[in-house]
Amino acid sequence: MKKIRRQNKVLEIVLWIFGLLLLIPFLLVVLTSVKDSQTAGLFQLTLPKVLHFENYKVVWKEGQILHGFLNSTVIAVPMCALSLGCSALLSFYLARVKSKFSRFLYMFIVMGMTAPLSIVTTFQLLKSMSLLNTRLGVILVQTALEIPFTTFIMVGFVETLPRELDEAATLDGCGPYRMFWSVILPLLKPVFVTTLILAFLDSWNDAQVSLFFLSDWHKWTMPLNVFRFYRYYQKEWNYIFGSVFLTTIPVLIAYLFGQKYIIDGMTAGSVKG
């Protein structure tokens, strides 16, 4: 026991050393954000003579950080709900039903990961549905892009859940919906939360869909806010990186929050007996 504890201590130290090394690029992001305009664009890991924390005031105001944050949230939250909801249902079907149709459907969906967004045709589609320049349009396109990815992950994990669970639940009188909701989903918690975070990350960091399909630059999401600092013939790197840094904070919080929510070592106690 003591040996394992000491091993773990050493492991912890090693992980911390590499972890801190891993964060060096972040350090450069933060340093650049507090430099003056003369040195910010050089991207050197040097400490500026003066730390210009007032840069963040400019970033907050001109970068429309709060606006961007709200725009991003209003798009990301429904997108996550929609894509996780859709793909959880879909992956349950694909994992459980072993028919030619379901195998074909699985490959069909996974193929969706191979092709990039087709801007012109998607634009025309949204236009014909009057969804241009709407957040709903952006949500739907982002969801459609995300579904293959989240389904692929979830199918792999649903398949690890034994069929006996479904049998037990059906014996108890559950219809498929309750079986899904009360039995399967709880067991998928680690996967579900992880996939949720990845979907959230994809939506939060997306700088393509929102750019092309939202023509009103007041609806710009957080990643697009950096473009406000692309000035005439120059880019104000210190402000840009301040904006970039602020964009990462909500996701980090979401990740920490999500990690705590996953209970360790799920016990599949319901199978026994």
């Binding site: 492991l11 050089l42 991207f43 490959m107 045709t121 992950i153 059906t170 970039v244 980090l252």
Partner: protein, 298 residues
């Protein structure tokens, strides 16, 4: 193996309605526009004329004859395979390490995941700064530690450039693979380990007997994801090296973008279609194989 009980097995219903929401959104907002977009690969759509002329598959042949395509293709393979192998090995090790009983585990997990949340454009600039051969942090640190011989041109060296992009991607996305492996580890019921300990098994055999086989689906997921997104990657290469110096680190997607920048939209679409076909041809058989293996292991 499932044993048949004397009792008749209950009929479990998996209604088709489960697939409707996902399929609706997917078909309308992705499949339909993307496949219609493929049509442009057969045309000479460009920035100079409003009329779009059908040219058929001759454009495919032109693209394949383009000498830069060969280079881009080779780079795409190098990039994709390097990151898949390295990311997965590192991610499994990290997931195992961060699943152990360590006090600051949650914080550490956040740290290792953090690179994935940073905007890729910003990241490209940061790495360009860090990898600057003359005053970038990496070379300066190497020289200070007496490892000056390891200091090289990084992204300014045509032979190293594509590997630098692989390094940046490994830095960025190992945390994602790690997160998936962690989810996999957390899904393994603890009782399996307890039962094994009772049976007298110890560390290594527990690992090979329980952990690895039950991680097989996670391995499949991660390998396929790394490969597909590796073949398709644009941002990491573009924002770190721009395909340069010269064309030495061009991959298929950056090359397609370059031609788009020249106004050759149809030509660019052809490159995209060729890439999609290639990915399908490689990953579908691989995926089938891995899934068959998974169901055997389970």
């Amino acid at each position: 193996m499932k044993t048949r009980t004397l009792r008749s097995r209950p009929a479990i219903r998996y209604p088709m309605t489960f697939i409707i929401p996902a399929m609706a959104v997917y078909m309308i907002f992705f499949f339909y526009p993307t496949v219609s977009g493929f049509y442009y690969a057969l045309t000479n759509w460009n920035s100079r004329s409003t009329t779009i002329r059908y040219v058929g598959f001759s454009q495919f042949l032109d693209v394949l004859k383009n000498p830069t395509i060969e280079l881009a293709f080779k780079n795409t393979m190098i990039y994709s395979i390097t990151i898949t192998v390295v990311k997965n090995i590192l991610a499994i090790l990290l997931a195992l390490a961060l699943n152990a009983k360590i006090r600051s585990r949650n914080t550490l997990r956040a740290i290792y995941f953090a690179p994935a949340i940073l905007n890729i454009v910003a990241m490209g600039l940061v790495f360009q700064g860090l990898l600057n051969p003359d005053f970038g942090f990496v070379n300066t640190a190497l020289r200070a530690m007496g490892l000056g011989f390891m200091a090289n041109g990084w992204i300014t060296d045509p032979k190293m450039a594509i590997y630098c992009t692989a390094i940046m991607e490994i830095w960025r996305a190992t945390g994602i693979s790690m997160a998936i492996y962690l989810a996999g580890l957390q899904s393994i019921p603890q009782d399996y380990y307890e039962a094994a300990t009772l049976d007298g098994a110890h560390g290594w055999s527990k690992f090979t007997g329980i952990t690895l086989p039950l991680l097989a689906p996670a391995v499949t997921i991660n390998v396929i994801l790394c490969l597909i997104y590796g073949f398709r990657m644009f941002e990491v290469i573009y924002y770190l090296t721009g395909g340069g110096p010269g064309d030495s680190s061009q991959v298929m997607q950056t090359l397609a973008y370059k031609y788009m920048g020249q106004g050759l939209y149809g030509y660019s679409a052809t490159i995209n279609v060729i890439l999609v076909v290639f990915i399908l041809v490689v990953t579908i058989p691989l995926l089938s194989y891995m899934r068959r293996r998974d169901s055997r292991l389970m």
